[in-house]
């Protein structure tokens, strides 16, 4: 009975191995896959051996058949090692040792006497076992680097190989012990188990493959979904890494189609093997062989050249990865060795790539939604804040406008209540003063609002010209001195000469805002530090105080419109517009304003403005009004170019398109220099210069030709200062201009002292319009202090100044050797006619002055004497 069972087991084992062999052989013949061939070769010895064992039970076999089958059987360890070498690195010595062991065994089997001696059996079996253990070790080593189903299959293969070694040992012992039935039965059973093991490991049936695939798919999906991802790129990265882990590839590149259809890398795992630029599926056709890995070399020379010869023998698997809805990406797997993968497995992985694509898209959509939600939230918050700020601003504005209006309406109401005296009423003078002050305050508020609106709408026009900021700041401080005195504030000035490109009025507004803020927020007895200096191409003006300071959280908000920071119960009067307006004005100049502040210690506002190219380091730079150049040029492009170059150098440029227009412009408002083209419509440039030189008022203005016509001698003969042939080198023109302008007399400096704002402003404006450099102060004491600083060509002084009257002032000026030489114009206002209009032209002085109807033409001779003889004439002093 037992023999019957044993035979049946033998039969089953043989059937199993035969089936495995046929299956592997058919697989190999169909695809010519070398891996499949090696698997076939592993199954061959067993199949032969079991067939021989089975046949021997039925017939006596010739001894050579026995020798051949034994030779085949003992080759199995070496063949298994060769298979392992396809899947991983196998040390060369091990390979050689196993081969040597087999060859030794083979020789022994061939030469040994039959029946084989016991020792021969033991020797052969011993060599066999060693070889199998080595092969199993290699397979197990590979299994350890893998995961999931592949790890299981490789482990089973390793275990089966060990079992196979045990089977041969049992066979040897059984044969030696006179074919002990139990041992032979055991050996046959082991053979059957080995057959099953190999079946699972190397040729799993469809059912098993599906189970493997399902488990792999599940683990991959789980990993994909479990990884925390914030961006689509991260999804692809995770997918690439999972692919590398699951397939055991050395390197993975995931490619996605670009809009032009070409493939571009989106993620890598392992070494970063960048694919060729603009890769398409067509370039990879040679690699697409039914999912079976090809060596890179087979993919074409271009690929080898791109990736390098080192990788030439690497296996490359190209998987097409359909990404729903209709995109087709690709996965490239690089591997030095083969993997145990079927088409199905790889297709599955590629399909999972499609899932990764969907996931990536979902992540992208979610990220976009999150971003959108955050943005929406932010804009809602900003809008709410803006809306609240506008409401607060309106309430605040209303409050601020009502306060001065209250005084205006209240006091004028009181005036109406006074007893009439004919068509007049006698009212206290201070009421009029209150109404006036409140009216001006109201005007200031309205101007601030309008300015801000103008800047907001981008309609602010700046008259940019070189401006000596140190001088301008000094003037402002003088104007603010009453306020500073009231609060007993110390002012420290560090004003180094610096010339910025700025609008004079707006610059004063900027600094005045900062100064009055500093005064407002600095407690009595505090200190203000005001400095100016040039830094590279910019000019820095700093206003620092020892005031209450601004909390870090509020430092950005102070520049926002309608915001007043700090304790709301302690807010100072103000519109909340000053700093917002200041910032806008600075920015309109192309500058920036920054704030450094420590609460309780003080604040420091720093304004950085573009510096002006220094036209001349000497006197002419002192003229705060820009140096004006008239450009006579008919070609708009040339005009634009020259104008830009000259403006860049700090000049104010007016352009006239024809010779006549140029002459008219020069006559109406004589410029400091003229740049003239020759070829002009109407009269030409040569005629223009003839007429200029013929006009005594204009003859002294330096003229520069800038023309395409090379007639330098003619131009110079007509009196041109220099002659430039286009294309004009800007530096040459600018330096010639600077030289000639510096050679001309500087603008006269005039000190205006008048306590009446309106009159002072009128005089200041008139003199400035005429080109004079004006310092205006309200108070007689300040006026005296300023006059001692010296350098004034004329002092215009109100004879009825409240603090120091004009007569004492004249006496003081007379006494001081620094000012004794300066002519003084005293203004005596008679009722109703306290106005003065003056026009002073730099260079040739023409002035008209009206003081109390007493007469005009007073400024002219005074300034004329000064600029012509360059010494003062005491006799010209107007001394009533």
């Amino acid at each position: 009975m037992s023999i019957g069972w044993s035979l049946l087991i033998l039969l089953a084992a043989e059937c199993m191995f035969a089936a495995l062999f046929v299956r592997a052989a058919v697989g190999y013949l169909r695809r010519r896959d070398p891996l499949q061939r090696d698997v076939t070769l592993v199954f061959l010895p067993c199949t032969l051996w079991f067939a021989f064992a089975l046949t021997r039970q039925l017939h006596a076999m010739p001894s050579w058949v026995s020798v051949v089958t034994q030779l085949a059987l003992f080759a199995q360890p070496y063949l298994t090692l060769r298979l392992a070498a396809r899947l991983r690195e196998v040390p060369r010595w091990l390979d050689l040792a196993t081969l040597a062991a087999y060859l030794g065994t083979a020789a022994l089997l061939i030469v040994a006497e039959r029946p084989l001696h016991d020792s021969v059996w033991y020797l052969a079996a011993g060599g066999f076992v060693l070889g199998e253990v080595a092969a199993a070790w290699m397979l197990f080593g590979k299994a350890c680097t893998r995961t999931g189903a592949n790890r299981a299959r490789l482990t089973i293969a390793a275990a089966t190989t060990v079992l196979f070694a045990m089977m041969i040992s049992t066979l040897a012992i059984g044969t030696v012990h006179d074919n002990d039935e139990a041992l032979i039965g055991t050996y046959r059973t082991l053979g059957l188990i080995c057959g099953l093991g190999y079946l699972i490991a190397f040729a799993p049936p469809r059912l098993l493959r599906r189970a493997f695939s399902a488990s792999t798919a599940q683990s991959v999906s789980e990993k994909l979904l479990r990884e925390p991802v914030d961006s689509p790129e991260q999804v692809w990265q995770t997918y690439a890494e999972i692919m590398r882990l699951e397939t055991g590839a050395d390197a993975v590149s995931v490619l996605m189609p670009r809009p032009d259809g070409r493939l571009a890398p989106i993620a890598y795992a392992g070494p970063r093997l960048t694919p060729p630029e603009g890769l398409s599926f067509d370039d990879l056709t040679a690699l697409i062989r039914a999912g079976q890995p090809a060596r890179l070399r087979e993919g074409g020379d271009a690929l080898v050249e791109h990736y390098g010869d080192d990788l030439g023998d690497d296996f490359v698997t190209l998987l097409s990865m359909p990404v729903p809805p209709d995109a087709e990406g690709a996965v490239l797997l690089f591997n030095r060795h083969r993997g145990l993968f079927s088409d199905d497995d790889l297709r599955l992985f590629a399909l999972l790539g499609g899932q990764a694509g969907i996931l990536a898209e979902r992540v992208a959509v979610m990220a976009a939604q999150r971003r959108l939600a955050a943005e929406l939230g932010e804009s809602v918050e900003a809008l709410t804040r803006a809306s609240a700020a506008k409401s607060a601003f309106l309430a605040n504005m209303s409050h601020e406008l009502r306060t001065p209006l209250n005084a205006i309406i209240g006091f004028s109401d009181l005036m109406r209540m006074e007893e009439p005296d004919g068509d007049r009423r006698r009212v206290p003078a201070e009421w009029v003063e209150h109404i006036h002050t409140s009216g001006r305050h109201l005007l200031g508020l309205i101007n601030d609002i309008l300015d801000l609106a103008k800047v907001e709408a981008g309609r602010l026009e700046l008259r940019l010209a070189p401006l000596r900021v140190d001088t301008a700041v000094r003037e402002l401080l003088t104007g603010l001195s009453p306020l500073l005195t009231t609060k007993s504030l110390t002012v420290v000035t560090e004003l180094a000469p610096a010339t910025a490109t700025a609008d004079r009025v707006r610059f004063r507004q900027i600094v005045e805002n900062l100064l009055s803020n500093a005064i407002k927020f600095t407690p009595e007895g505090g200190r203000l530090t005001v400095s100016s200096r040039r830094e590279k191409d910019t000019v820095l003006v700093t206003v620092a105080d020892t005031g209450i300071g601004i909390a870090p959280a509020d430092q950005d908000r102070v520049f926002e419109e309608f915001q007043q920071v700090g304790d709301p119960d302690k807010q100072r009067a103000g519109t909340g517009l000053g700093l917002a307006l200041t910032k806008r004005l600075v920015e309109a100049h192309g500058g920036e304003i920054t704030l450094a502040s420590v609460p309780g210690q003080g604040s420091s506002f720093r304004v950085r403005l573009p510096g002006a190219a220094v036209v001349s380091s000497t006197t002419s730079a002192d003229t705060d009004q820009g140096v004006r150049v008239l450009l006579v040029e008919d070609d708009p492009q040339s005009a634009e170019l020259l104008r830009t170059q000259l403006e860049h150098a700090g000049y104010q440029v007016d352009v006239a398109g024809t010779g006549e227009a140029g002459l008219t412009a020069a006559g109406a408002h004589p410029p400091d220099a003229i740049v003239l083209d020759v070829a002009l419509p109407g009269i030409d440039g040569f005629e223009v210069i003839r007429r200029l030189k013929a006009d005594p008022r204009l003859a002294d203005i330096p003229v520069f030709f800038a023309t395409i016509i090379d007639e330098r001698p003619a131009g110079l003969a007509l009196g041109a200062s220099d002659y430039f042939v286009k294309p004009v080198e800007p530096a040459a023109l600018v330096s010639a201009l600077a030289r000639s302008v510096a050679a001309r007399p500087a603008a006269p400096r005039v000190l205006v002292v008048d306590h009446d704002d309106t009159i002072r402003q009128a005089i200041e404006d008139g003199l400035r319009a005429g080109g004079a450099d004006v310092v205006a102060v309200a108070d007689g004491k300040d006026g005296l202090a300023m006059s001692r600083e010296g350098g004034f060509d004329l002092i215009v002084c109100d004879m009825q100044s409240p603090s120091v009257d004009g007569f004492s002032m004249l006496a003081a000026i007379e006494q001081d050797p620094a000012t004794r030489q300066t002519p003084v114009l005293g203004l005596a206002a008679t009722a109703g006619e306290a106005s003065l209009v003056a026009t002073v032209m730099a260079g040739g002085v023409v002035a008209t002055a009206m003081a109390g109807g007493a007469g005009a033409d007073k400024l002219a001779p005074l300034l004329g004497v000064r600029s012509e003889t360059n010494d003062g004439a005491a006799g010209d002093k107007e001394n009533p």
Partner: protein
């Protein structure tokens, strides 16, 4: 000044406005107003001191004061924490904050009336007369 003359406390930090109110009241056509004695205080602190030491018939109260909101004083008067044991004065909020919510806040704090800035002289006189008469 006789003891019968009504007393008004003007709580206002702007000097200009104090001058104005005094000028208007001293020229009023209504005798009671014209004869009223006007005390003034430029801050909440000064006003508290005055109210604790003097009997006052009417408080003209500005809102924006350097040491806090005028409404604080109104509620202190209403609760009796200021001016305890003194005559209880009427309180009129004189303010340039004229939004509905400002008025509601003033009423809640215990003000008896409002006078919006800017006001005409006649309005000021009429308001003062009205509250002096009521008191």
């Amino acid at each position: 000044m006789t003891a019968e003359n009504p007393r008004i406390l003007l709580v206002e930090d702007e000097e200009l406005n104090r001058t104005l109110v005094k000028a208007v009241l001293s020229r009023a056509a209504i005798e009671a107003v014209r004869d009223a004695e006007v005390l003034d205080a430029g801050s909440l602190g000064a006003a508290r001191t005055q109210l604790n030491t003097e009997d006052v018939d009417l408080v003209l109260l500005d809102m924006n004061l350097p040491d806090g909101n005028g409404l604080l004083l109104a509620s202190e008067l209403a609760s009796g924490s200021v001016g305890a044991g003194r005559r209880k004065p009427a309180v009129v909020a004189v303010t340039a904050s004229v939004l509905p919510q400002d008025r509601a806040a003033a009423l809640e704090a215990g003000c008896d009336g409002f006078l919006d800035k800017p006001y005409a002289a006649a309005d000021l006189v009429a308001t003062v007369a009205e509250y002096l008469r009521r008191g």
